[in-house]
């Protein structure tokens, strides 16, 4: 029996001057011509250019080529380009293989001879492999035209609004009782000193009233299955113990609740809330929740029911149970945000030891009109501070904690300095490593704050202590001393202050890792989600149809967050508006004649993409779920399972061509 005639065309690219001086491209072409099944081998200046592609197309037609090898750059760069050319010329796009002689030979090898020899090996491997390529097809699948947004901070809200405005059904999930996230806690925003609430609350209301946005607060995503265009999502709706359809948000329940001494999470534990509570007055939705850990009835099973008694709407329901909701979406936007670094481990700064040491978030609440002091910057004793220190980079730029710069702390620290000056007239010292103010009007704000008389001291604080230099000085009584070196003047400083603000860095939100694992999005060593490409695909992820918005991808300020949220929304909308997606071609295939039914593959598949057909006693692949990772192929001892385009044969022929 005669095998199908295999005619391979090999093209060696000069890549301008990138490959050709280092690799002797003519020698490589000549070498390629001598390889089995190679019909034609050429070299050309730019294979990826239009004439370069035309070359391939013409040759395919003229010489009846049915396999193509291009030796040029990384397949991550131009594989798709050449596959398209193959298709244009009428051969299957998988009858193509690329040899990466630029990144792997020309650019990394010093010696010309060695680079050429390596290029030849890589070409031989590609030729051997392409000989055993099989034609593969993908097919078009309809997508579900709705979008899931996880996280209801400013990033998630903006992504939801933008997507909703495009006419897509959006499901916005927030685990807290209200949307708003961190931004809702701020009073002013840098550098313009806009009132955060003034720009934030209309957006919150817009989300709450948007006809295309379905809001699930006090809810969490518990499972995500499926694939681009068709994700099945299960949402856990925690019981509020209040019937949302009846509650009119009058707030009488909160007034009457006898349990009043629960530290308020929203106010960073600087004030108290009741057991039935709404985190803050502008909360959306305006429906309170009952905290089951503190409510007399729910936590202690003791008689109470004050809220129930006074609720005219009859909205209180102590029997509410957790509910599961199942939705299907075509795309997912992750916007899980950040959490502030906990400075307690940095004992030298005295947080948790001295009452007048605050984190930046605590200070935000102290300064906020809806905060515990009604917006007056007061110390615990009720006096205005006269001397305030602000310490930058707490937890950030610190090899022991977080190596990265948290990007927003310099700017918000200067905002704090301005606000302290403005509201209290206190003297302010800022201790910084470097001031980072790259942003529109940011440097100008830095200059302004300096002009306002804030002392900027370059030096990392060594210690905050209650031991005074001069205990006899009655003015300093009860003050803290900030010990630091001014590295510009090389002088040690000991500055007595009334209040210390720690400008803590940003960390990924609690539970972000779980969300990532559920969806399959990976994170970097710090826990920030990894974008598909740092520069060219900053809102995409490795999972098709899943996008990132805001701080979950890395620390960001509000303008960048909003821009990224709009970007993520744009990508999601672009994906869904076409209405269909193509299935992968390079996926698992289980040969029914070889399958022994051991189901080892079923066990190793993390995508639940393999089903066991009890009737036939064999495993079958769901081509929409399969991602082509190859776990099944390796686990299957009889090679019944294989990954199309990465078969044993193809890989082993490649190895053989390199080694023998």
């Amino acid at each position: 029996m005669k095998r199908d005639q295999i005619n391979i065309g090999v093209y060696i690219c000069h890549c301008g001057m990138n490959i050709s001086p280092k690799v002797d491209v003519e020698a490589v072409a000549e070498f390629a011509e001598g390889l089995a099944h190679v019909r034609i081998a050429r070299d050309y200046k730019f294979m990826c250019s239009s004439p370069g592609q035309e070359f391939i197309i013409d040759d395919i037609r003229q010489y009846g080529l049915n396999r193509i090898v291009v030796a040029s750059c990384s397949p991550r760069m131009h594989e798709a380009t050449f596959r398209n050319a193959c298709e244009t010329a009428g051969i299957n796009r998988h009858y193509f293989q690329m040899a990466n002689i630029r990144e792997q030979a020309a650019w990394v090898t010093l010696d010309t001879k060695e680079a050429t020899a390596k290029a030849m090996d890589l070409v031989a491997a590609a030729v051997a492999r392409v000989t055993y390529h099989r034609p593969l097809e993908s097919r078009e699948v309809k997508v579900n035209k709705s979008i899931l947004v996880i996280g209801g901070g400013i990033a998630g809200m903006q992504a939801a609004i933008s997507s909703g405005n495009a006419g897509y059904q959006v499901y916005l999930i927030e685990r807290e009782p209200s949307i708003g996230g961190h931004m809702a806690k701020f009073d002013k925003t840098f550098p313009t000193l806009d009132c955060a609430a003034c720009i934030m609350t209309p957006k919150m209301v817009e989300v709450g009233q948007h006809e295309s946005i379905r809001l699930f607060t006090y809810s969490e995503v518990v499972s995500v299955e499926g694939f681009v265009g068709n994700y099945s999502v299960r949402i856990l709706k925690k019981p509020r113990f209040i019937d949302e359809s009846k509650c009119n948000g009058c707030g009488i329940c909160m007034e009457k609740c006898p349990i009043k001494k629960i530290p308020s999470e929203f106010n960073e534990n600087l004030s108290f809330r009741t057991a039935i509570y709404s985190p803050f007055p502008q909360a959306v939705p305006n429906t309170p929740v009952i905290d089951p850990d503190h409510c007399r009835i729910l936590a202690e099973n003791k008689p109470c029911g004050a809220c129930e008694k006074f609720c005219e709407a009859g909205a209180i329901d102590f029997n509410q149970q957790p509910e599961h909701m199942d939705i299907t979406v075509g795309s997912i936007i992750i916007a899980t945000g950040f959490k502030a670094f906990d400075p307690e481990p940095l004992v030298q700064y005295g947080y948790g030891i001295y009452p007048e040491v605050y984190t930046s978030l605590e200070f935000e609440r102290l300064n906020n009109a809806t905060g515990p002091t009604g917006g007056s910057i007061l110390m615990k004793g009720g006096d205005f501070p006269k001397r305030v220190a602000i310490i930058h980079c707490v937890g950030s730029r610190d090899a022991q904690y977080r190596e990265y710069c948290s990007r927003v702390c310099c700017m918000y620290s200067m905002k704090f300095a301005h606000l302290v000056r403005e509201k209290t007239g206190a003297e302010v010292w800022e201790f910084y490593i470097d001031v980072r103010s790259p942003g529109k009007l940011y440097e100008e704000f830095y200059n302004r704050v300096q002009k306002e008389g804030v002392h900027m001291i370059r030096g990392r604080v060594a210690e905050v202590t209650d031991i005074l230099d001069d205990p006899e000085n009655s003015e300093d009584k009860g003050r803290l001393t900030v010990v630091a070196e001014n590295t510009l003047t090389r002088r040690m400083l000991r500055i007595p202050v009334d209040m210390v603000i720690l400008s803590v860095g940003l960390e990924p939100a609690e539970g972000a890792g779980d969300v990532g694992r559920m969806i399959g999005v990976s994170s970097d060593g710090n826990g920030w989600f990894t974008e598909l490409h740092a520069k060219l695909a900053p809102v995409s992820t490795v999972i098709k149809g899943v996008f990132l918005a805001g701080c979950c991808q890395g620390p960001k300020d509000i303008p960048d967050t909003v821009a990224q949220a709009m970007g993520a929304s744009g990508e999601a909308v672009a994906l869904l508006s076409k209405g269909t997606v193509m299935t992968r071609a390079e996926i698992s295939f289980i040969d029914p004649d070889l399958c022994a039914g051991c189901q080892t593959c079923v066990e190793v598949c993390v995508y639940n993409a393999i089903d066991f057909d009890e009737g036939r006693g064999i495993a079958t692949v769901n081509e929409l779920l399969c991602q082509g990772c190859g776990s099944c192929a390796v686990a299957c001892p009889s090679s019944a399972a294989s990954i199309k385009h990465f078969t044993n044969r193809q890989v082993m022929e490649e190895l053989e061509a390199i080694l023998i």
Partner: protein, 362 residues
Amino acid sequence: MYSVLKSEKGGVFAVRSLLKRLLTENMVDAVFVAAKTPYSDLPMPTLISSPENIETADPLAPVAPFNASRQASILLRSDTGKRLALVLRPCEIRALIELVKLKQCVLDPAILIGIECKGRMENALFLEQEKQRSGISISFYQDDNLKEMICSACNVCDHFQPVGTDLTLSVFGVQISTGIGVEAESETGTDILKKMGYSDVQPPAEREAELRDLQQQRLEAKSVLMEKTAEDIKDIKRFETLIANCLNCSNCRVACPVCYCKECVFVTDVFAHEPELLIRRAVKRGMIKMPTETTMFHLTRLAHIGHACVACGHCTSVCPSGIPVADFFITVGSKVQDLFDYEPGRDINEPIPYLVFEEENQ
């Protein structure tokens, strides 16, 4: 629960009467046991449903033409609702448990009757001995000369006591000419013995000492064999000398109870080399032996099932070239098993090592 099954004709007769009662008292629908066919002295795995045919059963004969777990797994492919008693050796049960893990069969319909095994002879040797003196099923347990004749894998086997059974037929500390011991290892087993009216007695005093002695003897022999084999394979040249006469006949793979693939990857197109490739190899290397892939075959088989090797030794027994396949499977297999702290057939719930992943793995 330990009982003694007495028979003045010897242990085999005691076992037969137990099996017969299982059938006559409708405790099982059929018995799977090694039995002599009318045509040969070599006991083959048989499926017996008529009580009279139990007379041919000879599970104590020191021979096993092949590892019966494969045949057992065919019977246990699915739960038919029929109850089956299976009389198996320890290595057969261990292989069967591996096959259950690989979903090749189920144990629901099975009553497992394990035999305490002192080893098996190669088929030809057994037939020769059986011809010389009939009744080897008894004399084997009495004549120390015969014990020397067991095959090399059995000689280093320290799994001579079956695990995971319902009933275990016990030959240690027992005068096999007067009967056999039986120990219930599960509730099912205890029920059977109670129903049959056997009473719980103390196992013979010599039993523990005999087990201990054999254990020690076997472990010593095993370490000698492993040391020698390690030396024989310690570099690829030596190993290739050891397997130089391999014919690529795949007998070892066919005989292997845990090689369960429907079609071995070595007969698929993965290794169906094109003539160009073979010629290229010859040109580059000067010469190649054909068929190729001999070393590849053995190493790949080790990688596939080294962790699951139950050391039954049938691969060696069937090799036409006399290659000690089991020796290097035992030696290398135990290294892999140690690495993963895995013991094939130890526990039906012990997961196959390649299917569990630690989150942090250095």
